[in-house]
């Protein structure tokens, strides 16, 4: 049952990305193109997701433990450091350039568009490089 729930969550996530249009880089880049062929759809994707997660998370957190696990693994940090800002800024540049973020890129892999086949291995390499540089940075706030 716990394996099924994880598989189901992965499938649901991917189907959601496809249905919403997030798995189409042209749609993502059009969302980001305010002064060109702007397509506001992605705001609805984020809105739709948060409308479910906000009350959903609140309900789940009323339990003391998850169904199939001993503890909740939630990020505990509340500080702002340079890595957060630099990392997010870098991520945004890559997201704008390709129209892909990690979920949609992986979901698109079976469709085997040549661009996806370039993007995904490069993304994995970028992640490994970042993990090797993972040292704490000074807080800025």
């Amino acid at each position: 049952m716990h394996i099924f729930s994880t598989l189901f969550a992965g499938l649901l996530f991917g189907i959601g990305l496809i249905l919403s249009g997030m798995a189409n880089p042209a749609k993502v880049q059009n969302f980001l193109d305010l002064f060109g062929t702007w397509d506001p759809s992605l705001a609805f994707v984020m809105g739709g997701a948060i409308m479910v997660t906000m009350p959903g998370f609140w309900l789940v957190r009323k339990r003391s433990t998850p169904l199939f696990h001993d503890v909740f693994h939630l990020p505990a940090r509340t500080d702002f450091d340079a890595r957060l800002v630099v990392g997010a800024a870098t991520f945004g540049i890559g997201w704008g350039l390709g129209g892909f973020c990690p979920g949609p890129a992986l979901t698109s892999l079976p469709l085997a568009a040549s661009g996806t086949l370039f993007f995904v291995p490069a993304m994995l390499v970028g992640m490994v490089i970042a993990k090797y540089t993972a040292a704490p940075s000074p807080k800025i706030l």
Binding site: L12, L32, M46, S108, S114, A130
Partner: protein, 144 residues
Amino acid sequence: METEFTPLTSLLGGGLIGLSAVVLLAAHGRIAGISGIVSRILPPSIDKAGLPQEIIFLIGLLLAAPLWFALTGAAPVQLVSNNGLLLVIAGLLVGFGSVIGNGCTSGHGVCGISRGSARSIAATMTFMATAFVTVFVLRHVVGG
């Protein structure tokens, strides 16, 4: 190229993404952050305890497009640039940035904001800003 404005399917698809995140938190106490899930199973520090669940989640993600094809009889619509060099650079930046910044569109943008995490709100505003600027430069300064 223009894409059709799809408020309804986008809202619905977003809802499914949200539901997936709720299922993962309820069942396993995990945040559905794709960059986190992927990077945890990569070297140098592989999360051995979470490995099976992370791989199963990713298998589900990879099966979504084939399932979509089986259900609708058509491949998901997408238009991906075939500029290999551009996509390699984009991939490197996305991979590197999401690990350094502890999250991506899903982990910060959906789950983090829903938890009211100040770090996630700051990260989301930052990557949205640089992405808007990047597309502006790409399409209206360099390209056109």
